[in-house]
Amino acid sequence: MRHVALTIREADLDEVLDRLLPIVPQGVHQDTAADGRLELGIYGDAPPRADLEAAAGGSLLASEETEVSDDPDERRLAAIGRRPPIGGRIVVRPEGAPAPEPGLIDVVIGETGGAFGAGTHPTTALCLEALLGLEPGGAFADLGCGTGVLAIVAGKLGWGPLIAIDHEPAALHATDANARRNGVEVDALQGDLSELPPPPAPTLAANVPLKVHMNLAAKLAPETRVVLISGIVDDHVGPVTKAYEAAGLRLVDTAVVRNWAAALLVRA
């Protein structure tokens, strides 16, 4: 199967898609992004490469045509292998995707069973990037753990013991399996975090919806010194931050990708 990769300026994405999507019914893959450049991948024999390049217009920086596998699963894994590491250091990949170069933190997430945290969502990436900026040490709780990816990376960075909590049984099974696969010991517990208090760990990561944050903030233990929050859209950063500030924390940093937000708060 033909694969055409168009490298464009990321800032022009919407305008390029306005011209590209109408002529590409099968859709466009946004494969990699770095330094303001974005690679758009088009699989299939139509439309002609010249039409694709014309649609990219003045934003086109490079264009390449290659033959790739007809198997969508093989193509998916190859595309994952081309993703830049999160924060320049962390690679989250499914089994079968190419292993990263030595020196990077390699996290293999097996079948998720529908649990959240395959590493592609902005909230996951924002949390992982934020972890890289913290001083590891002491107990770490991954609240709304999904696949357990945040706890696993925390363990690889040096936090411990590790606790992971989710209300979905599928998430607990996935966390258990993924922790074993990555050689990290995680205590996965079932609990409804919209009602329960968070565990009294010094560091919490909560990639959860708005109403869960409101409960966690109201019941935060005094032992908790650092809280990394995500799972919310940028409009909700204000009210969520306010709730944690009422519990004695102060906002240190926020980051937003595609309207999804993460924020770091520390005890004042």
């Binding site: 999507l21 109408p22 099968q26 859709g27 699989y43 969508p72 998916r76 959240f116």
Partner: protein, 143 residues
Amino acid sequence: MSPLFDVAAANAAGAAHGQLASALPDGIALSAHKLVEEGARAQLLILPGVVRIDVRPLPDGLQVVPRPLGGTELGWEVDQDAVTDYGKTALETELPAMVRFRLAFWGDAPLAGRLLVGYSTDDRHAPTHFVGHVVIRQVDADR
């Protein structure tokens, strides 16, 4: 009737995408269906000069992107009650998975829309089968 409710233009713009447009007394109805590979962003519905609705199935969530066209100012919100079972395969859920949105278009002639996107997949990471339906109507600005 707004000149934007042009059935022929909508049918032409969506012809390669399985779209069917039909006129309503005060608006237009569009529907379409297509298979989309995981990670690909694809046009599902289009009303030229007003909006294009894109879908992008990802391992960690479904992106539905209403893209305003022709300078239209667009507001939209998810109908939370209708968000069901994204990420589950047909074996794991008996319900047709779907999400609903409310759309509002501001301008000289305000428009309002209701969008329904249904989707299912037979296996994780397999292409997702999408069905989209949107009804866009004129709004009586005096009401």
